[in-house]
Symmetry: C2
Subunit: 385 residues, 2 copies
Amino acid sequence: MRDIAVIGIGQTKVEENWDKSLRELAGDAALAALMDSGLIKTDALYVGNMMSGSANRQQQLGAYIADWVGMRYTEAIRLEAACSSGAAAFRSAVMAVASGVVETALAVGVEKMTDSPGNEITADLATASDADWEAGQGLSFVALNALIMRRYMHEFGWKKEDFAPFAVNAHNNAMHNPYARFHEPTTIEEYLKAPMVAEPINLMDASAIGDGAAACVIVPMEKLQRVAHRPIVRVAASAAATDTIAIDHRKDPLWLKSANASGRMAYAQAGIHPKDIDFFELHDAFSIMAVLSLEANGYTDKGTGPKLALDGEILIGGRIPIATRGGLKARGHPVGATGMYQIVEAVQQLRGEAAGSQVENAVYGMTQNIGGSGSNIITHIFQRI
Amino acid sequence: MRDIAVIGIGQTKVEENWDKSLRELAGDAALAALMDSGLIKTDALYVGNMMSGSANRQQQLGAYIADWVGMRYTEAIRLEAACSSGAAAFRSAVMAVASGVVETALAVGVEKMTDSPGNEITADLATASDADWEAGQGLSFVALNALIMRRYMHEFGWKKEDFAPFAVNAHNNAMHNPYARFHEPTTIEEYLKAPMVAEPINLMDASAIGDGAAACVIVPMEKLQRVAHRPIVRVAASAAATDTIAIDHRKDPLWLKSANASGRMAYAQAGIHPKDIDFFELHDAFSIMAVLSLEANGYTDKGTGPKLALDGEILIGGRIPIATRGGLKARGHPVGATGMYQIVEAVQQLRGEAAGSQVENAVYGMTQNIGGSGSNIITHIFQRI
């Protein structure tokens, strides 16, 4: 298996973008990534998207986007794993290049959730849960996460206000990210005043949907001469694991076993430990998911996630900065694109291009994309060399 | 890149199966393939499916099926390329094993098109066409293929009855396939009497939808000791290419450029020519697609596809037998599963397990799965060794 490097990144601003179609959004990110890489096309295209079939009534985004970005006839495919579709596309690109089947690959994550013909987004999002055991009973994703958060607070004695630092950190970091959906800082006071969505989850615990696309170009490390003028970002690890879709089928609803499994595989591949990671772009779709991710990946003990945040360790300059460009909470969560945004942001950090929320001298950055309520988790570690 | 062998196959009967859910269908095929392989699980699962998000309101079939078949925590992902989703899943499995990322992989194609909560199948199928330029104008897939067939008849002077041998061959072969949807033979006379769907396509030119699943287990060739008691089926080639989704964006609507491209890549990988192929499981979603596939892959000249059929060359014992187990026409076309059915059937032929429609002494079999109207085409060549 060959070593892989990311040589190009691109993204669009997460927003309600009624002026751009699905292919225009994906194309903007893909062409930006190609331009950044110095290539005009790649040997293959991998597209991450969750719900264009229902929301946009357009399937086979592989051929659809390949044609749009000037790669007609090129091999192209769509990957879907609910909210982890973006990282799934990147992982497929990595495997294709690693196998030697292709020499260069473009991975794009895209989701257009507003102004769509089949606009029932909450119902569409619920297709990431179990149709028989969860969605069929009327549970939306925020309701599922509310049940988890309530249980977590009960088990470990944390109060609602102890979750405030996650939203405050995400919004403050997003201030410096021109591609983020929100550019308003927030405070603990505002967090506590936010309207309730599904108790105990309020508006500041929940990430925002949006339209957006992000993209990367990857090549084998041995082809890297052409980008020697800037730091090389190597894919140090790529790992994936699944769990049951329905949360009640798990022994412990408060332990993301698939995050733990894919995280451990990733550390092993990279030959490092959690303490070596300089920042962690985690999947903070809800504050409680940020907590569970920090615990499952070895950054803090089970039941202690809020303490890490209360102690300031998740901030830029802390022990394990998270959501450094705003995270799902404030950059926004265009679901099938989110995993690619995380990767693009990790590359920015490692290149030193994250002005305003730069993690100084970062060498290792980790991204983790979660599909469903922890049912499909894909982890990547990137290394500056 | 490592050499790959198929060591297990499984499938369900294509039918209106109201007694089985999506996960039961996929599970039945997957467990049959695992049992056939002698393995109880694999390192990764690749699922091909087109429209479970809209038709069944269930996404992330990777985790969904992994859990159901006893592979909880295993890496699993869904691939989508409209009607070529099945072959896409297989190709991803091949790349994963070839890269060395995993040692064993299970590929499953599944589609449940009847008795579904979101049952608007014709509209759902149309999401494989261009939402802006085709579906948005009211074109269904049968209408698109009717336009192509009409143009073909006009350009090359063929009459409606010249297409009859495709349906007759498919239905006669399906008689011997217990997993086929139809077990009624047909004749030229019945073909000519069939009700018109979208002129010139009648009911006997169109494949049937259905519920079904098919699956394969693959391993590196070097791990093959355990199945030495039966013929080894090697993956001699795997290739993919795209084209525009909208047909009117192509220079020539009667030439499947992506079939030609992926076919030529596949022949080159296998080191053979069209004349070396002993049978061809092509994508006869409509008779005209069988014609265009035979031409684009070098089995006959452009404009002469019907002659090959009229001369009996597509029959078992002919120069290039097609639809040897019924094809999409008579085995049925559960769209995201179809590409996997083709592969399962090719393995049956090469193992000598196709009683009734066996191609004697077959060494090379080719499968070609088409997404949309030729917009995503994935070709595999299998070799008995």
